[in-house]
Symmetry: C2
Subunit: 438 residues, 2 copies
């Protein structure tokens, strides 16, 4: 029997890449899918099989793959250079654009990834306040900086009391001093969050919140939770920070436009690079001054070889100009239509499946209602492991790519056609795995 | 008087970017240079002024700006997509290529920047050994991860005893637990380095060395220093790591080919992205296994939205294939010729200026011999501040861009023409600033 191209590639990959993959996210059994090319919502693998891609590279492609206007803009810039040690007009233009678009932004700094964005936001908060600790929500993912990784995926053996969660290392060998600098709070639990913040109020540089955390079931932070924490930070000299690396796509100015209060600092990434590597953070002028080498409040030297490179910025600004209010509204309307179709499919299949997410993000849960917090979801996913695995396999087999968390990211090149195929395929998948749902 | 374009851009920039710049490195008085376009070794600013660019975006452009073969390869890939959530053939190809090129590499992982590369190398060393501390050299730059940033730029008020340097925070607000996890050793000082390592031997995950650290005067690590530390790590269960983000350009396999011993892990970045954002680290198979989700030694979950994106990898592999042994030899020969011309200019001008660096990296020092260590250089640069400032201004005014440390990175598109212009301009600059050299 002749080996398929992807089988051969994976054999080679296992010899040179740990686990045979450059990113854990791509791993599948018996081997990953290998992309040959992609355009808009469609991806073709090395065997010639076509998929509709609802992963959008983990939400980062708001206009799907290889949008012609983005590619041509990037190509025009590439011919003039991809990176300089001097400044560029595009960094000024894009900064002006974002500050105009996001109410809470007075200044912005561009970096290379969401991980870099959150790391520097965290360090800037510490530099500005002179305080060593940060608070984050149990189970929230904010990139791979070790401080912010703490308690990203704790388990019942490690997580401790729900009202006062432990700071659990995400990787082996994390120094105790790193762990001690991170306070873990329970998402959307006002009383216990405030109790924990109070116990650390003199040491706390910031609390960082993803307003709809991917790993906490794509549940929105409640208005009251956000307001109460914001008020607490005003009284106690901490900064109130958002991670909108994923959620910026949900509304014209990100999820933050849904709340009465504004974050002091916000981290961005993913869609703002137009498909190229990017991160950024921005916010209050007086805080961002710690980055200014000619300011008396300068406390935070920061350069970066590829930061603000003109390719990522040109592609990113082009993508953002193609994703203004009307485009956001259209995409969210299509996404709501997809939600209706999926609800219908759930009813027809009579399966205990629920949905979370907002705007162009849809997440499925193998539970009759969305799990309330990280811990409930942990048990649910463990319980439904077999059904989820079969479900994902069915989708891949039938030409649908989504994120392994069962998250579907829609993009502006999608139409009724793609969401109808999605709903039809989901209905078949629901029926197929129904016997395995516990 | 009409304002020039760069003056207008900087006025706008100051309103939206802290300090008016996206990277501290680009700041100049009264305003940064703004690039309009660049090709090979030449850069044209928004006022139409032409420069020869010896910065190579801090050494990252081994073939100068917008090399046609790299740009066309990247463009071909862009039309097929810039980033997928699935695997690609190019990640396998490039991994195989690097493992073939670098003797110490058995496995490799791609990331988005040198900062990410060093951060994950450090964290992997901790995960593999289960130990919390790392050792680095006083004054060495390894990116902007807070642990590795410690003592990057200490001063006489903070640095403590030379034989046992303090761990000095680089930015404000660094938690004590982070500082305590970093041991600082004096570069090329065998006796004191070993004493310090000995005092921490049970806690030390790794020692990380840049074999020719930019911020320690571009002095190569001595054979004896490297050998002695390597031997010490073999006896004491620590990993021996190199940061070759900058120095990889010096030889076909980086500076490590000059030493008898091989690093366990090495961080890469800059030139391996062909001008696009990249980082990578690689080394021993048994260590890299901690990254493998399907291995029993899995201890380190790591993904990354833009990591191993096919644009950076396509551009990077194209660049590396254009920089094999012959190209390295040619560039280094041209660089040696530049060294001779600069030596000649120093003699003619009768100035107390010395040179360090190796291969395609040339660094000038305003001192009759290269400062021996970080501290000597600190005092020397402080002392020569006025002369250095005038020197840099003269070079920029006369169409030469270099790194502010007075480092010149040559690239493969350079010929006798560019190094002759460099030597002539340096001679004039030497004469110009001679009265200001102390």
């Amino acid at each position: 029997m002749t080996q398929k191209k992807d089988e051969i590639l994976y054999e080679r990959a296992k010899k040179v890449l740990p686990g045979g993959a450059s990113r854990n996210q791509v791993l599948r059994q018996p081997h990953p899918v290998y992309a040959a090319s992609a355009s808009g919502s469609y991806l073709i693998d090395v065997n010639g099989k076509q998929y509709i891609d609802f992963s959008a590279n983990i939400g980062s492609l708001i206009h799907g793959h290889a949008h012609p206007k983005i590619i041509e803009a990037a190509y025009e810039q590439m011919k003039k250079g991809t990176a300089y040690m001097v400044a560029t007009e595009i960094e000024v233009e894009y900064a002006e654009y974002m500050i105009n678009r996001i109410k809470s932004f007075e200044k912005i700094r561009f970096l290379n990834s969401g991980t870099e964005a959150v790391m520097h936001l965290t360090k800037v908060a510490r530099a500005f306040t002179g305080r060593p600790k940060i608070a984050k929500c149990e189970g929230a993912y904010h990139g791979t900086y070790d401080v912010i990784e703490v308690s990203q995926k704790p388990n019942p053996n490690t997580w401790g009391d729900k009202k006062r969660p432990n700071s659990v290392p995400h990787t082996a060998g994390v120094p105790k001093g790193v762990l001690d600098s991170v306070i873990i709070v329970p998402f959307n639990d006002i009383e216990n969050t405030i109790n924990i913040l109070e116990a650390n109020k003199d040491d706390l540089a910031c609390i960082i919140i993803d307003p709809m955390p991917h790993r906490i079931n794509m549940l929105p932070a409640s208005q009251e939770y956000v307001n109460t924490i914001y008020d607490w930070t005003r009284k106690n000299g901490s900064l109130f920070c958002f991670d909108e690396v994923i959620t910026f796509r949900v509304h014209y100015s990100g999820m933050q436009e849904c709340y009465k209060v504004q974050p002091d600092l916000t981290a961005l990434g993913k869609i703002i690079g137009g498909g190229f590597p990017i991160g950024a953070f921005g916010g209050r002028d007086d805080i961002m001054e710690v980055l200014d080498p000619i300011c008396q409040y300068y406390k935070y030297p920061l350069s970066g070889t590829f930061s603000a490179n003109p390719i990522s910025l040109t592609a990113g600004l082009t993508a953002m100009k193609l994703f203004e209010q009307d485009a956001v509204n259209n995409l969210n309307a299509l996404s709501d239509k997809a939600r209706s179709l999926i609800s219908e499919a759930i009813k027809i299949a009579q399966v205990p499946i629920s949905m979370s997410g907002e705007g162009s993000i849809i997440r499925l849960h193998f539970a009759d209602r969305v799990p309330m917090d990280y811990r409930e979801n942990y048990y649910n996913e463990l319980n439904q492991k077999e059904a989820i695995k079969r479900f994902l396999d069915y989708l891949y087999d039938h030409g649908i790519i989504c994120v392994n968390s069962l998250t579907f990211f829609l993009n502006t090149t999608m139409t009724d056609k793609e969401i109808n195929i999605l709903a039809d395929t989901l209905l078949d998948a629901f029926k197929e795995v129904k016997p395995y749902i516990k």
